[in-house]
Amino acid sequence: MGRVPVGELSRYLLGGRLSTNGCLTAFRRTPRSRLVGPAPPNLRPLRTFHASKEQPEPTHQQLQTPPAVPLRKKLKDEAKQARKQGKKKSNADSQTVEGWELTVGIEIHAQLNTPRKLFSSATTSFNDDPNSHVALFDVAMPGSQPILQTGTLIPALRAALSLNCNIQPVSRFDRKHYFWWDQPSGYQITQYYQPFAKNGHITLLARDGIAPEDGKSVTIGIKQVQMEQDTAKTLAHNDNTHWLDFNRVGAPLIEIITEPELHHPRTAAVLVRKIQLLLSTVDACVSGMETGGLRADVNVSVRRTDNPSQTLGTRTEIKNLSTIKAVEDAIIAERDRQIQELDAGRHISSETRGWSIGSTETRRLRGKEGEVDYRYMPDPDIAPLVIGSDLIAHLKQSLPVTPDTELDKLDSYFGLTPKDALSLINIDNGARVEYFYRVLYSVQDMIAADDLDGEGADVKTYAALVGNWTLHELGRLTTSKAGPHGTVDLTFTPDGDCAQVPDAELSQLLYHLYRKHITGKVAKELLMALYLGELEDGVRSAIDTHDLWFKEYSLAEYEALADEVLEGEDKVLQEFATSAKYPQGKLMFLLGKMMRAGQTERIDPANAEKVMRTRIESLRPSAV
């Protein structure tokens, strides 16, 4: 199927000399990333809600004579309304401003997933003892020299290829000078004059969640991708002292620079999220924004739409955005500030601004006059980087399937809903979808094995089932509904191994469910037992031991059960006789009662409904 798991990729590349342990493993275990889409706290005080200036709601203001509503209901309604409004606020409404066009370009810095630093053989690390992975060159020891670690190229190239860039046969490294204590040599080595990758693009689709104004899809140009060094970590000790941890200094980063082609804040945020996902899919990056492995700077400008020939407005740069939500929020705030300034007849000055999470406005950090002149100079110690076309061809060919291709397949071939497909590949950093494939292929094998007449079951019939269970039923285990026992989180290895619910067991379970050997209810109970570790000998043995095989009632038994349930329900039955519209709700009520009365493992809900419906039908006057 052409899909190569990430873990396997790095095993055969370069004879397995690339290690994916360490950083990658650490980050796989971090909680899943939060996607765009604000979840504003709905606990905001009611009073502020009433006084809310930003969202005047005429319907609410008109409440001259408030009807007598019970307080409880009122509070509930208000909370509901607040939620709704909160959603609205950074949703559709904020994407455009009448009469103005917003233009945004983004620079993304991402830590590469490599075992070594860019120019020294010191290992990269996370949260290890401070200053435990430091080579002479990392602290700029006099007489030490940079030695390019060619292994760092592999993830960088994968990243650039996944962004459809042209890899430059020759690129160079330059020094960018500035004094800061986290930069030991007084300069950062980067690729200013000749970056290694140029002219790429990324397509954002409606299902990625772009602003509705961008339609079904929008393609954003990637101007260039360059490699550069990370800085040291500063640990504030007290007011006058900083401690420095040089473990991170010199670790390889890539900087991805987009063309200024984004016009909606939501789409800009989606771009960052999608690039993050892409980088993770091709195993290029250490981690996402949530662990500081990815940072974004955005360049924002506005211009009036009445004059299409007008050049772009003066731009400002907002530095160091560390969450995807911050990207959207900061762009909205900065756009609104610029429009306000221009409306008031003032100018926008080219400057660098900052953003704090949870803030409502950007703040000025420094103006153009305060900018340092970086004095970019080609590094005289580092030879030009020559990348062979054979390496590029090999990496291109072994690049994992992109999330978009995978989504299309999950959607159209396996029949998952787009939403489920997206969730599946997004959660657990790609491990959940590996798990899905494992279960799916086991189920497929089992079905094929007993499908001797060879008619072949439609893959969609069981793929959707597997999708539903690996996503939703598994998800339910750890929610509060699972009770006090559901406290253990499900853990997945990058290869898709799950310790709590092994894929072999789940596929047994789903195979039997698919073949109607057991009922859905039984299956759910078995899953819970499996998760709680109560099934010592596995699913199959548990079904045998407790005789949970689905031995369906005979028609006579179903009818007897239906009659038993209908006893004493004359009032309900009456409705079937008199009601003009078919009382579906009442049918469900009776069916529920029937399910409870019978033995779970013997009832097929569909058949039970059929019997019940026929039974009642006889009591209802035939339709006119």
Binding site: M141, G143, I147, H177, F179, W181, S185, N240, R375, M377
Partner: protein
Amino acid sequence: MGDFHGEGLSSLRHVCNGDVKAAIITLSTQVPQPISPPPVDHEKPFTLAVKDNIATAGLPTQCASRILSAHPSPFEATIVKQLRARGASVVGKTNMDEFGMGSHSVNSTHGPVRNPLSNDLSAGGSSGGSAVAVRVGDADLALGTDTGGSIRLPAAYTGIVGYKPSYGMLSRFGVVPYANSLDTVGLLAKKVQPMQSLIFDTGLSKEHDPNDPTSLSPSTRKRCEQAMPASLPDFPRITVGIPHEYNIAELDPIIRESWEVAISLLEEQGVRVVPVSLPSTKEALCAYYVLAPAEASSNLAKYDGVRYGVRNEGPDAVGETLYTETRGAGFGEEVKRRILLGTYSLSSEAIDNYFIQAQKVRRLIQRDFDRVFKLENPLHEPVQFDLSDMAETTDLEDKQGPVQVDFILCPTAPTFPPKLSEVKNQSSVDTYMNDVFTVPASLAGLPAVSIPSKTSDKDLPSGLQLIGQYWDDKRLLAMAEKLEALVAP
């Protein structure tokens, strides 16, 4: 502290006694010698003095700068290890111009180096201490670094041999950079032979250092070696070029005379001596003094007193820029001047007119040399030169163009060593003039050697410089040895 003759001359100096006159500034007699790696075949014990910008185990590496005062390098330079393995015993570290910036070895936190030929004369720089240590016999051999002439100039001023190999031959790992693209580790000795034997008989020229990204790879070394003739032919089959651009008005008449004498001595031996033209030479000095300070300003940005070196009292953020106090107090005047020069020539407003132009000039200089040498430069694709590109004054050999040569012969310095008292009053531009003959070979990365020659001035020798094609070091030293036999004082 032993019989170090250079003590009074600033060649040797003990770090503890505060005596500022010695050329060797730290003596290794005070510290235990690290265990040497197993010696290679050709071991012949010899004493070695090491310039203070080359990292050594057990001895401080201070670059004659206050900012690196007593800096104990946590590692040893590859070249020192290689020489120890070949029988070197390190006698000490030698005084120099701070970070290699200077032509007279006077810009030192340890005080100026004095010339043993006459106490009031400059010993040349920046490897002045290394030259003096050899001259007075404190070391058989000394390590120096040559960025724009820093080995050849002091060799010429003190009457010894100074050799700057092809760029990329000897490892720079552990050599504190001044201008990386020009910095070359080289040797100083009284005669050509010992360095010839060390470089070529012990396999030093073949050793690649994986720690130095500018050290030529084994495969490139092999290719370069194969491109060069293995040995020097007889005199009648050698052609030596005399670049007429080097015959400048400022050239001291006695030095010009010794140059002419050398030419006639060679001709007497049957060597063919022809005039050649290196038209870009005029621009070389300017290009050098743009490029070297630019790289220096970048290389010296690391000295902030945070991780090593001397740190000023008080917080780092005092003043307009971080580390103003530490750097202001730690660097000497010439270093500060070059940092400022380099900072300016790299600034966004000046880079196009200075740094970029200078890089272009550097290419032209290299082309000049390639055009003149018989041998192709093994690092470049062969270039067909257009006669119309050449200066009109160029003498043509035949319709193919001007005659091509094996080596270029010129003086090392335009004058005899100036008095230290004069140096003090010289403007920095006057001082930079001393490098006019040495800088072109540095810009082109070519091997060059300065050998002492007798002059009609009875007291002082002059330095004669031989320049060869890239990686033609072996033949260059062989030629230098022959010339040495003809002109030695």
